[in-house]
């Protein structure tokens, strides 16, 4: 369906990067989970990879403006979010799917997505159509009026994705979006990701390397709160050879880079 463009959407951007972090530090409790991370991202689908405890979720929460950075600089859509700035303009252009998200069990999928659209301060007249469209895009049309407590894990995950994309965000942050999806839904989801990545900056945190290889244009590898490597998926695949651990070319590339980084760190 065609959608009318607002002047804000067609205005030229004045910022070189959609997401720009310099020496970013974020605490998770007392622990400095993100420690001196430099990252620049633009439009496209970016896969965020890293071992457990690498600071992926903490980084996602900081980018979603849920936690304030404790050091460094973070700029989203050209606006600094580390100071005492008003976060509302940035948050209006933000979509976020947390790793574990709570919900109101008695809401239906439609009510839940519409509530989130209302909180994102979308124009009232656009909400019903946008809600229907995002529910259709994640393939939950048949379950639109089912209560959230009756949904399976994979359906809940898709309802979470629907609320994240309902406002056509310029920055979309998805933390482990493919958990609980069956193989067919994962394929549909990759298709959706490619579609979303054409005009917004999508950052997908995952531990499934094959998801990244299939749907992402770009890979960001973090370890112990720092950026280890950033490059295209093709270059990632080219890093590995048969001597490295992994079942696919992308997995071998991933383990090759991680092993090289650890060897450098040990020296």
């Amino acid at each position: 369906m065609m959608r009318a463009l607002s002047t804000a959407e067609t205005a030229p951007t004045t910022h070189p990067w959609v997401i720009h972090a310099q020496g970013l530090q974020v605490r998770a409790g007392r622990h400095l989970a993100v420690n001196g991370l430099d990252l620049t991202l633009n439009t496209g689908v970016h896969g965020l990879l890293g071992p457990n405890g690498a600071g992926k979720t903490t980084l996602m929460r900081a980018l979603a403006t849920v936690v304030a950075p404790s050091g460094g600089r973070l700029t989203l859509l050209g606006q600094s979010v580390d100071g005492r700035a008003d976060l509302r303009p940035v948050r209006r252009a933000l979509g976020y799917l947390p790793q574990h998200f709570g919900f109101y069990p008695r809401f239906t999928v439609r009510e839940f997505v519409a509530y989130m659209a209302w909180l994102k301060e979308m124009p009232k007249a656009r909400i019903p159509a946008a809600v229907q469209r995002s529910i259709d895009r994640v393939g939950l049309t048949a379950k639109a009026d089912a209560r959230l407590k009756t949904l399976s894990g994979g359906m809940l995950r898709r309802a979470g994705i629907a609320q994240a994309i309902v406002n056509d965000p310029q920055v979309l942050l998805l933390d482990e979006p493919t958990v609980g999806l069956d193989p067919e839904q994962r394929l549909d989801f990759r298709e959706l990701l490619r579609d979303l990545g054409t005009d917004s900056c999508v950052l997908v945190s995952t531990h499934l390397v094959e998801d990244v290889a299939a749907a992402c244009t770009d890979v960001v590898l973090v370890n112990e709160g720092r950026l280890v490597w950033q490059g295209t998926t093709e270059v990632l695949i080219a890093q590995g050879d048969q001597s490295h651990a992994g079942d696919s070319a992308a997995e071998r590339g991933y383990s090759a880079i991680l092993r090289r980084h650890r060897a450098e760190a040990a020296r």
């Binding site: 979603a64 304030a68 976060l87 998200f101 709570g102 019903p128 049309t141």
Partner: protein, 267 residues
């Protein structure tokens, strides 16, 4: 409006002839969007091939529309109100508040020797609801809401308003039933709500509410029950002082609105 294209131009447009250059195609398309007459003329010029395509598209669309569930066009004001303003998390606290008020009214009715319990606990009535209005552990969807522009102050004020809209009629009813002064139940209730928000800019709303509840219980409620006397500042003649306090606190809160911005970061 641009000039109408000639019939031969329309013919060439309809057949997709390469003789028509790109700018002319654009011009005709833009004109067709606005001009019903020319669209009707175009319909006469269509070729058999394009009519077949249109028919196939229409058939497929009709089949898909018949197969998918109808979009929900109903807007139920009551469900919108219930879902947006009285989000599920508040209802247990409001139910508790009403239960406590009802118990206080019953006790005052039975034991006439005691000072009016309704009068003593009226200032505290909205505080449990205000305490959980914007709190990380009280709202299951906190992580989701925290990334929206409505996070923090907006949500806190909305839910506080919802709490007051519920508690004030309840207090008025209970107060009328037990025969205590309406001003002396409602004014302290408002003053305490504003005081909680104001104190909340310094220590967080949750802590502020707990602190005020404990202070009032130990400093006022307990001694009054022990001595079986209503303290001087809850006597009818002090209603004016409560009114003045409420106004002063509200004005201070309005001037301190920047302090509330901090709330959009912390839960």
């Amino acid at each position: 409006m641009s000039t109408h294209p000639t019939l031969s131009q329309l013919d060439r447009y309809a057949t997709g002839a390469p003789a028509l250059d790109e700018p002319s195609v654009w011009a005709i398309e833009v004109h067709l969007e606005d001009c019903a007459d020319c669209r009707a003329r175009l319909a006469g010029s269509t070729t058999g091939d394009s009519r077949a395509v249109i028919e196939r598209v229409a058939m497929n669309l009709a089949r898909e529309i018949a197969a998918s569930p109808a979009p929900d066009a109903r807007t139920r004001p009551w469900s919108v109100l219930r879902h947006r303003w009285l989000v599920g998390t508040l209802s247990p606290w409001l139910a508790m508040t009403v239960a406590v008020l009802a118990c206080a009214a019953l006790l005052s009715g039975m034991r006439t020797g005691l000072p009016s319990l309704v009068l003593l606990i009226a200032p505290l009535a909205p505080l449990p609801g205000v305490a959980v209005a914007w709190h990380r552990r009280a709202d299951p969807a906190w992580e989701l809401v925290a990334a929206t522009p409505a996070a923090g102050l907006t949500t806190l004020l909305r839910r506080t308003a919802a709490v007051l809209a519920f508690v004030i009629p309840a207090l008025a009813l209970v107060g009328a039933g037990t025969g205590v002064s309406l001003a002396l139940t409602l004014l302290p209730c408002l003053a305490f709500t504003v005081a909680t928000l104001l104190l909340g800019t310094l220590v967080g709303v949750h802590r502020a509410a707990i602190g005020l509840i404990l202070t009032w219980v130990f400093v006022v409620v307990a001694p009054s029950l022990a001595t079986a006397r209503i303290p001087m500042f809850l006597q009818p003649e002090s209603a004016g002082i409560w009114a003045l306090t409420t106004v002063v606190l509200t004005v201070t809160a309005i001037f301190r609105v920047n302090g509330f911005r901090r709330l959009s970061r912390h839960g």
